[in-house]
Symmetry: C2
Subunit: 149 residues, 2 copies
């Protein structure tokens, strides 16, 4: 059971990458090389993020993309939703009428509880938080290997 597919994975990594750049437009080529994401695949992913307002784009030479929101305002759930749809138990949930199968409904009830929990937890994880974590890890590492003055 894979939680994140490649699209979501690459999207999150790209967003982190963008969130760590101070200013200006970053081209898909740069992100592709930096994160080792296949260029054409990444382009499609970025276009989807653009359509959903998570990133902004500028065409032409010197153009590229940048975050369309504050890093803290982009939750991992948002990204999951774009590429994998809302977390759901099974397609049964789409049926309007109450599921005829009682046992299944009981199961669904339990799982919906867990679903809510997962969504809550995932939305706490924002791009901003991931960047903060990342910086913390990196500063710890530089402490460890610090040169004597």
């Amino acid at each position: 059971m894979k939680v994140l597919n490649k699209e979501t994975d690459y999207a999150v990594r790209s967003l982190i990458s963008l969130g760590m750049k101070p200013e200006g437009w970053v081209s898909a080529k740069v992100i592709s090389e930096e994160q080792s994401i296949p260029y054409q695949f990444l382009r499609r992913i970025l276009q989807e993020l653009i359509r959903n307002g998570l990133v902004l784009s500028k065409e032409g030479a010197g153009g590229g993309v940048k975050l369309g929101k504050e890093p803290d305002e982009i939750g991992v759930t948002d990204v999951i939703e774009i590429f994998q749809g809302k977390v759901q138990v099974s397609e049964c949930m789409f049926r309007k009428k109450i599921c005829s199968n009682r046992a299944n409904c009981v199961l669904r009830h339990e799982i919906m509880r867990i679903e809510r929990l997962v969504n809550q937890e995932f939305s706490k994880v924002t791009i901003g938080k991931l960047i903060a974590d990342l910086k913390a890890v990196e500063s710890m590492r530089s402490q460890q290997t610090k040169q004597p003055d």
Copy 2:
């Protein structure tokens, strides 16, 4: 993002069905009709449950399957693991060496935390619990529609 696939869904429903039968062997045909699960598909699912010890089987006429454990000892996680594998973030986790991509690792760390939470929650949901929930729902319904004496 579908949490449960058909195999898991049908498996859980079958286990509930078996857990509610008092004694004896139940044939795949009966479960198939009772739960509206395609017969051949169900057979394959049951065989997998048998291989994993969740149900026992008896060949020949009058044979069938029954639970191989107490309902309370079968967690939904067990079933998910059989049909969808352990909950994991991405195949990256299978790589032995620490992932070269720091950003990805940070994300993974967060997600592993959520993973643990999900697994904890799912393992609390046992077939026994689902059956209890089911009976509670059913008794509530019969109260509502109770005939006057």
